[in-house]
Symmetry: C2
Subunit: 226 residues, 2 copies
DNA sequence: CCACCTAATATTGTCGACATTTTTTCTTAA
DNA sequence: TTAAGAAAAAATGTCGACAATATTAGGTGG
């Protein structure tokens, strides 16, 4: 994983380290979604001053993982179906565009790397021992590479720097490792083909359908639960 | 203006006020783009402590108006043609989707408000005394209302909370009040029609073309200057 | 004269204390 | 008993000082 994500690169400062710890804790639910954040309490837990903690909180706020109100305090963002669907709408728009731009701007080398990655996923899938790997890390890797391939810093920042963590949080907390592994793999293949053909229009359409399919899958799942 | 923008609502805290002052200063170029930010100097200028200033800087960073490096400091974001075009790509994707969602989710009342606003712009345009008004405030108002009409908090946050300020900065510093007033007005009309018809697909397509046209207009302008 | 290393300076990161605001608790009156 | 208001407690916002890091200035050797 890791790659170029600015939020996962070497943490040099204390606030960075605490930010990463809290990031994990929020993503995996150790710090419950919707809960209030007590600055004095957390500062004591992490054995740092409140100033440093607040610095970390600011980074979390940048990722939209916590929300602050003046003179009142911070809360971990609430996980809701509506919120999850909102994110999918944004992803459909942004990753679709990223895919179009990737088709235009990726280097041949980057495209070859993607093909190699897909081949690796294919063998892992065939072996049947990497299903969960493919579903989680593999899927994220794929989307990550496409986004970086857009070579558009704004797109990269918004998707990898902000939304990425929210997506992971929802995956963890709602426990939805989409059971679309095989289908998703085929869709990934076709997207890479379109990129390799430098067909931006098709690439965008396929990516949008790919993400929309995920969203509809979730909607169906939710409907069944009720 | 103002509306629901979280960054323009009543500033209660000192850091908020300083944030807004710096926001304006950066947008209009008083604080030059690309320049380094000296914390001790600015803290003295605004007569506040460094802690408070840093709080304001964090807000500016959330809007992508400044960039921070650990142990080195902050810089105002650099204005470049490439950067401007990147923003247009993101806007095309996000505002296009916002427009689709607006067609689905806007209340009839909101639609009527938009129609009223457009009529007002039309009369101002007819009188020929509000051309600049239409180009600046009016255009922003239109896009603002569409975005809010999506009823998607993520879209609203990203577009109105972050990109909005960057867009204004580029408009100010590059001095491009697009000379597309008449054309833009017609495009706005058609977009509202599509929204009123609840035709999300068409609404998205029209908004994307509208923004792409702006982008191409800028590209043409740049090409002429060289 | 230039490159490299070292010392001095300035800047950023972190800390603990105080000021202000909000929340809670307790009292009092209807 | 409940509601409203006042006092107490706790939380957030702001401040100035110290520590750690980066930048600059100066000196030495090639």
């Amino acid at each position: 994983m890791a790659l170029n994500n600015p939020t996962t690169q070497a943490a040099v400062t204390t606030a960075d380290k605490v930010f990463e710890q809290m990031l994990h804790a929020i993503v995996d639910g150790t710090i419950k979604s919707g809960s209030k954040i007590s600055e004095p309490e957390l500062a004591k837990n992490y054995q740092i001053s409140r100033s440093t903690l607040r610095e970390a909180l600011n980074r979390l706020e940048k990722c939209h993982l916590i929300e602050r109100k003046a003179n009142v305090g911070s809360r971990v963002v609430e996980c809701s179906i509506a919120g999850l669907l909102e994110i999918y709408v944004v992803r459909e728009a942004l990753e679709g565009m990223a895919c179009r731009e990737a088709a235009n701007n990726m280097t041949d080398e980057e495209i070859n790397e993607m093909k190699a990655m897909l081949a690796q996923h294919a063998s892992a899938k065939a072996l049947q021992d990497g299903v969960s790997y493919y579903q989680e890390e593999g899927d994220l890797d794929f989307h990550y590479k496409v986004i970086l391939g857009s070579h558009n810093q704004q797109l990269i920042n918004i998707l990898c720097g902000q939304l990425y963590h929210l997506v992971r949080m929802y995956r963890c907390q709602f426990g939805m490792n989409s059971p679309r592994a095989t289908k998703a793999f085929d869709e990934h293949s076709r997207i890479i083909e379109a990129i390799a053909d430098r067909d931006g229009e098709l690439a965008e359409m396929l990516m949008r359908r790919h993400i929309a399919a995920s969203r509809k899958n979730i909607e169906k799942k939710i409907a069944q639960q009720q």
